[in-house]
Symmetry: C2
Subunit: 272 residues, 2 copies
């Protein structure tokens, strides 16, 4: 008889968090995942902290109602404003955000301690990356700047070429010119890792790009290895997708971020 | 004693509809306006018809509760899916959309009857412009294409220059090359009029850009002139702004679309 095992729940405002799911699958090939994209209310990045916190709780509740064994907030904006709230609200369920793992990776990558964070307006305004980086390295200089066009660019799939590079140049060159000591750049929005080539073409080889997807997956994997999270013993793993609106668009655009095709029929519409 | 007069209500998913408000103010300088931006749930353009219809009804209800004498749906996506629903729901209140005025202007502007509509994904999928144009000119050839990056570009204020032109070229050149008879282009999203110079640089002088803001304002003004809508007799007119989230961002980004500064204190936060 096949044993069923609760999945790890992952949510984001839309498809960007699929970069985190992709990293989680690579690190935890035996686990099942249930991913929710709150596509009816995306983007979170331009909205107020109170609104994002309320939306994040509602999104998390759907996953909890499906019986997940842990929650991963695969969205920088929601992680920066709602992590502590969700931990209290759903205790003792383990809840992971992407900010602290991203900050750890940035501190490890930076020799000179001057770090640039690019993110959505909401994440930059909340200042969570600055706090998390300075908690680890108090003398670090952290510069944060919103790059909202990167979200639309990634969703359109125009992730390389002259337009992506021109936009990256316009956002980043004035900052890098004024702060030549910057040697680490945090991709502080789950949409941004797909743009790493265009961003890297502007920053050059001297600046390490830090992708919090991989480091978040490592933190979740460590919890499993340390026994804080029960490993899956299921015979077969399963990946399921939920979206609060437009499941066909989710499947089409999501493929860019997951790195593989998603069948439109694999995405279930849920109401919030 | 100063007489108070009900305002004309105008709503959009965010700040794009301020291009319509700007045109309305120019045509109807004696009227008061109450503008609502549903910023908590923007954008409408990537969402399903059912969701947009529900959001539009809720946004309209706030304005109706404030006692407006007419409603203008200053959003192409909401006009294309919710106009008839809102007309029935709030009858006998006059409700105006932007699609039919835009279609009329396009038909008037096109000599050869080949018309390109650029819009959000939702507006293109709904096909309302095609239907409205063909109702007026059955032999017209209508090509519609979504240009979602234009929304982010306009919100960022990067409305002119090489990046805006490169994006316009990538969206439009392949279509214009394949359909040389196109002689009218409908700016089928209220965000797009601020990009008219960049778009015009790609289309050239042979293609007329049709902005539904001006023609919608003309239709509303005609209703006042024809006595279908009672003109304002107030001593002073008033423009008020409501936003469902992030009123400071509304004020900052909205200035691009209204064409003048908006004081952050002039935007009232309302709950939906």
């Amino acid at each position: 008889m096949q044993r069923t095992e609760p999945p790890i729940g992952v949510f984001d405002s839309g498809v960007g968090g699929l970069t985190v799911l992709r990293a989680l699958r690579e690190r935890l090939p035996g686990e099942s995942f249930l991913y929710l994209g709150d596509t009816a209310r995306l983007p979170y990045g331009t909205k107020s902290a109170e609104t994002v916190c309320r939306y994040a709780e509602q999104a998390a509740s759907i996953l909890v109602d499906h019986g997940v064994k842990a929650l991963v907030i695969a969205c920088n904006t929601a992680s920066s404003v709602a992590l502590e709230h969700l931990r209290r609200r759903f205790a003792p369920l383990p809840v992971f955000g992407v900010i602290e793992p991203g900050a750890e990776a940035a501190v490890a990558a930076s020799r000179r301690g001057e770090i640039l964070v690019i993110a959505t307006e909401g994440t930059v305004r909340g200042g969570a990356y600055e706090r998390a980086i300075r908690a680890l390295r108090p003398a670090a200089a952290v510069i944060s700047t919103p790059c909202p066009l990167f979200v639309a660019l990634a969703e359109e799939g125009w992730v390389e070429g002259p337009i992506a590079e021109a936009i990256a140049r316009r956002y980043l060159e004035p900052i890098l010119a004024g702060r030549p000591e910057i040697d680490a750049l945090v991709l502080g929005c789950t949409h941004f890792p797909v743009l790493h080539r265009a961003i890297g073409a502007v920053t050059g080889p001297d600046v390490t790009l830090v992708d919090s997807a991989a480091t978040t997956a490592a933190v979740v994997a460590a919890s499993v290895e340390e026994g804080l999270l029960r490993p899956s013993r299921a015979v077969s793993r399963e990946i399921r997708f939920l979206a609060t609106d437009a499941p066909q668009r989710f499947a089409r655009v999501g493929a860019v971020f997951l790195g593989e095709a998603i069948a439109p029929t694999a995405v279930e519409l849920v109401d919030l």
